[in-house]
Structure formats: C-alpha cells, structure tokens
Symmetry: C2
Subunit: 185 residues, 2 copies
DNA sequence: TAAATAAGTTTCGAGTCGATACTATTGTTA
DNA sequence: TAACAATAGTATCGACTCGAAACTTATTTA
C-alpha cells in the first residue's frame, strides 16, 4: 500500500471517529465545535465572524449553529455597543457547564491511557499538521493570547498585561485564551 | 492552557479541516469516505454492511450515501449469489478515476511538504491514535489483508496466496487491500 | 454624500445522521 | 420441519449541516 493513500486513510478515519463522538448530550458536532470555541476564546474573539473564521465555515452555517445553541439556552447574543453590526456571544452558565463535559472526552481518555511519550508525540504531530494546514490555507492560527507578538507582559499600571494591537488591558486569565488576532512572534 | 483541552482542540480543528476539504468535486465528505473505502477494500469487504462497520455509521445512513453514489454513476450494486440478502458493491470506471483524485489530496500535499522525519512522526502518531481508539471502541481495525493472522503466503497450488479464514485464494494485488476480517497476528 | 465594504441573517437544496420501523432471506432450535 | 431469531438492507422521519446566493443594516472610504 502506498504511503500517500495510507496517510489520507488515517486522517479521514480519525476525523470520522471524532465527528462520531460529536453526537453527544443532544448536540451535534458543529455545535460542540462552537461551544468549545466560545469557552476558550477571549472577549475580542467571541463573535459570529470570528467563529466563522475559526471553523472555516460560511457565515450562513454559523448563523444557524448559533441559533440552535441559543434556542437550547447555551449561548446569549448581545449587540456590540461600538459597532452596531456586530454581535457579542457569551456562554450561559449551562453552556459553560456543558463545555466542561466535552463530547470528545472519550478521545482524551484514549490519549491519557497511552504511554507518556506517545501522548507527547501525538500532540506534537497534530500541532505540526494543523499549523502546516492553516498556513497553507492562509487561515489565522487562533493561538493563545500570551504567545502573541502583541502581548505585553506585566504592564505596570492597571491590569497585569496589555495587548499592543488592540490597546486593551489583559487579565491573567484572559491572556490564556484563544485570540483571533494572535500572531506568532 | 491545560493539556487535555489542547489535545481536544487540535483534534477537533483538524477533523473540521478534513471535513471541509471533503466538499469537492460535487461529493460530500461521507461520499468520499465511501468511495475511498471501496477503492481500497478487497472483494470480501465491498458490501454495505462492511462499509457501515468501517465508517461506524448506521445502516440507514450508508444506504442513503450509496444511493447517492449510485445515482451519480460511481457505484454499481449487484446481488450476492450465495446470500440473496447481501449486496456486492463495485466502483465504476468513473468511480475509480474519481477515487484517484481524492478530495484529501491537499492534505497529502501539506504532509509531503514537511520534512521527511515529520512526515514519519505524524503518520506514526495518527496510526497509534487510531488503533487505540478503535480498540477502545471495540471496532474492527480493517487492516491490510497480508498483515492478517489468517494470511498464508505463497500457497503452492493455484493463486499465490491464501486466506485461511475464508478459505479463498488471494492475488498479489488483493492481498494489499483492506479486509473486514483482518486481525492482528 | 455616494459607493464600497463588512457583519449578520435568511432561504434554498442536497446531504448527513441517529432512530425506528420494515422487508426479505438465512440460521437455529425445539 | 415449522416457528422463531438473527442478519442484510431499505424506507422514513426530524433535526441539523453546509455551501451558495440574496438580502439588511451599519460603517468605511473615496
């Protein structure tokens, strides 16, 4: 069997299993993806547009998914004060609790049951593959705030940290979250 | 950011990108999955039931997917002679040609552009993860025929190889294919 | 200020997917 | 061997997915 075909097979089979596990707790895979994102994204990144870009979907699809999550009581929408076109998304308490019971927990368990160096190798491999694909597609990486070139640690006045791009203060917790503007140093 | 969440994020994001690429050439991801499988499966494994088990879907869903592929002219169904309940699936010439232009080719290119040892590490990692998950879910591995405990190489009389489970001769090409009965040695 | 752009929503059509019910055929068992 | 169970698939339902395209408001830009 030739190597190329093997890689594609592996990738598609794993994706399928991931997708399959995404049917849990009455949600669909896409809804879990949105919930997971909203639980991890910082306040600059919790909008339908950011979610659209993160998930690589179209605006219409995201709109539908958010509508479902809102109807189920996991998400609330509020209008942005500065830009009246924009919508700010927030998880409800129920949404936050559900996000903790992630549908992909079984997969997490699989990993945890493997030897420690396998765990590390697998995570590293997935990271490399994801970044290469994102770069190739020209998509934003959506990395962690405090790994960004605009992150300024320990700003003396006020909040502990600072975003030099958005000119906004950052809390300790906030700087651990996913940001749509994150760019490698 | 805690490690567990990171792994789940990586996994779900990659799955999503894979799924996204699966919308190509007028087919859907599930249809590509079926096409890819049929292009690789040996004759004992080209049935709706085997495909159902391989893809971890329900019989109804597979029935629908196959109906689409049949209507598009990529698959033909024939009734099994021995068991009149069973259906044998075969790719048409168009189906075989399409399978060569796999929708996940872009992903393959991503991998090929990485350093050789990264390619190997990533493939190995995916293999480990997939096998661990399949084992945990109690699913069949659907491995390659000639890596099976029932594979007998170079049977003297007639065809070059032999399956000791199904008591059937195996060609060289056939023994390179995916089999539903494959079991680790 | 008019035109372009951007953020979201709405609608459409084909497909997905789990669940359930159903048909036909084959195996088992009493 | 007749009755029952198991197996291979199909059909239908409802909620959802997803790309595409049309459409509404806002906000920029020229």
């Amino acid at each position: 069997m030739n190597k190329p075909r093997q890689f594609i097979s592996l990738l598609s089979r794993i994706s399928r299993l991931v997708n399959h596990d995404g049917h849990a707790e009455g949600l669909k895979p896409a809804q879990w993806d949105a919930l997971r994102y909203l639980a991890q994204a910082n306040r600059f990144s919790r909008s339908p547009g950011a979610l659209t870009s993160y998930l690589g979907a179209t605006k219409g699809t995201i709109s539908q998914t958010l509508m479902s999550l809102e109807k189920k009581g996991f998400v609330v929408k509020t209008q942005d004060l500065h830009d009246k076109r924009s919508v700010a998304l927030e998880l409800t308490t129920a949404g936050k609790n559900l996000a903790k019971e992630d549908a992909l927990q079984p997969f997490q368990k699989i990993l945890s049951d493997l030897p420690a160096n396998d765990q590390k190798d697998i995570t590293t491999a997935l990271e490399k593959l994801l970044l290469a694909k994102l770069r190739s597609d020209g998509n934003k990486p959506f990395g962690i705030c405090n790994t960004c070139r605009h992150f300024r640690k320990n700003n003396p006045s006020g909040s502990p940290h600072f975003c030099d791009l958005l000119k906004e203060p950052l809390s300790d917790a906030g700087s651990e979250k996913i940001c749509i503007e994150q760019a490698a140093i």
